[in-house]
Amino acid sequence: MSAKTKQEHNANAVIAIEHLSKAFGSLKVLNDLSLNLFPEENLVVLGKSGSGKSVLIKLIVGLLKADKGSIKVFDQDVTTLKRDELDVLRQKIGFLFQSAALYDSMSVRQNMAFPLERIRKDLDEKQRTEKIMEVLESVGLADAVDKMPSELSGGMRKRIGLARTIVVDPIIMLYDEPTTGLDPSTSDEISQLILDVQKKYKTASIIITHDIACARIVANRLLMIQDGTVYKEGILKDFETSDDKIIQSFFKSI
């Protein structure tokens, strides 16, 4: 997929971002950034912390408002959509937060049922339970269904967070640092899970990370953000063989 030229793709990109800028007061976070995400690909976005990676995906789902530029998701411009149109679009997007953002006051089951009850009104109680168990099994945590979030470890929280987003069958997945703060073997498990999700649910994903081990496992294509814009774009080999200092410093640290 990455071999084709940019022009050819624009037509079928599921996310097409053009000339995106975002500032908070005098702090310019993103500055004229453009990128595309294509069906069923895993795009890894690299960048040091504070470079605006989280801001980028929050702009994509409309949690933040862009200052300039356009963000087209399935050909709909997020920056101009009305609230209810945005809500419909968001049902096709799964978002895994850095902290997993599980609802503290609800059990794992209630966490999973929360989006399901409101988005998939066609399912009855029994079908919902089946669906919840099926997804929990696919992240390997079926026996945690009646636990509270406070009883879960960091890795488990990430998995439940992932389960909660895929339970509504998203077409696009956005992962915010899925392996940060986890031990290496748990990190690898989560990376594997991201691959599984891609295969099983045929999702297109943006995976934000500064964990090169994770990038090596999941990436079909990589993109590096520096100074608010795309610094380099390519496949893993392009990055590993690059003699650019900034890129090297990223890959050497492992």
């Binding site: 929050k58 789902v61 809500d87 049902q91 978002f95 902290s99 609802y103 503290d104 989006p115 988005i119």
Partner: protein
């Protein structure tokens, strides 16, 4: 000389800039409040009302506050009675004591003290809960899963507080009257029936209704302020404490202000 003038001028310039910033902040905040209220109003009257969450909040705000309100209500009645007793004896009007205490309980003490205690308990609870949900991105998570957090979190809590605080006030009034009866019996001997006859003999419609109406506003204020402070908490964990704290301060202050306005309005209609 020139230098000093320049310095003076630039410090004045800084002050003006600073002043302009705070005016801007003020306007921004006012805009935010208006937007927030508008959203709550709109989301209150959709067919997607989150009824189960509303009931759960009623349970949390109402039922869970009962022990605290029982105690404060009873003590309020007791203390009021014990303190007023010597004065009433001096005027030879001890039989007026139950009536006087119930009037002041129902008109003022019950509503205001209960509301202030709820501003502490309920307001800070909501502020801290929503604040921590904001900081840990749970509110964002709700939003991206196409659930309107205003509808699910805010509307339910505001309505629950608006309806539960008046019930808690009525309950506190009742506990206060019981406390007062206990108070009269420390140094006297009045049967409960006689006490009630003396207490309710003086009470009029005008004692009840305005007091009841204002408690709905107290409830709304407590719910709204708690939700606003929590929902708009900053980033970083210290914002949770800040949200809870300022929820209590602002809600208590507004309760007093609403009370003052309510008294003025009642006064206009009764004289």
């Amino acid at each position: 000389m020139q230098e000093r003038v320049n310095k003076k001028l630039s410090s004045i310039g800084d002050k003006i800039l600073h002043w302009r910033d705070s005016v801007n902040d003020g306007l921004l905040n006012t805009g935010q409040v208006v937007l927030f209220l508008g959203n709550i109003f709109r989301e209150s009257f959709t067919r997607h009302f989150e009824f189960r969450e509303f009931l759960y909040q009623c349970y949390k705000i109402g039922y869970k506050s009962l022990p605290l309100i029982s105690l404060t209500g009873a003590i309020m009645g007791l203390v009021l009675t014990i303190q007023s007793r010597p004065v009433m004896i001096e005027f030879g009007a001890v039989s007026m004591l139950p009536g006087m205490v119930s009037v002041s309980l129902i008109r003022e003490m019950g509503p205001v003290i209960t509301a202030l205690i709820c501003a502490g308990k309920v307001g800070s609870g909501i502020g801290a809960e929503l604040g921590s949900m904001r900081v840990t991105e749970q509110i964002d998570a709700m939003e991206v899963s196409s659930v309107n957090p205003i509808r699910f979190l805010v509307v339910t809590r505001v309505w629950a507080a608006t309806l539960m605080i008046p019930l808690l006030v009525l309950y506190a009034d009742a506990m206060g009257i019981l406390g007062s009866w206990a108070g009269t019996n420390i140094k006297g001997d009045v049967s409960f029936t006689l006490f009630c006859a003396q207490a309710f003999g003086i009470l009029e419609f005008i004692d009840f209704v305005p007091a009841l109406i204002k408690t709905f506003f107290f409830g709304a204020v407590i719910g709204l302020v708690g939700c606003y402070k929590g929902y708009h908490a900053g980033r970083g964990t210290e914002s949770v404490g800040l949200a809870a704290n300022s929820a209590v301060v602002v809600a208590s202050l507004l309760v007093i202000v609403v009370d003052m306005i309510a008294v003025q309005i009642t006064d206009m209609f009764t004289t």
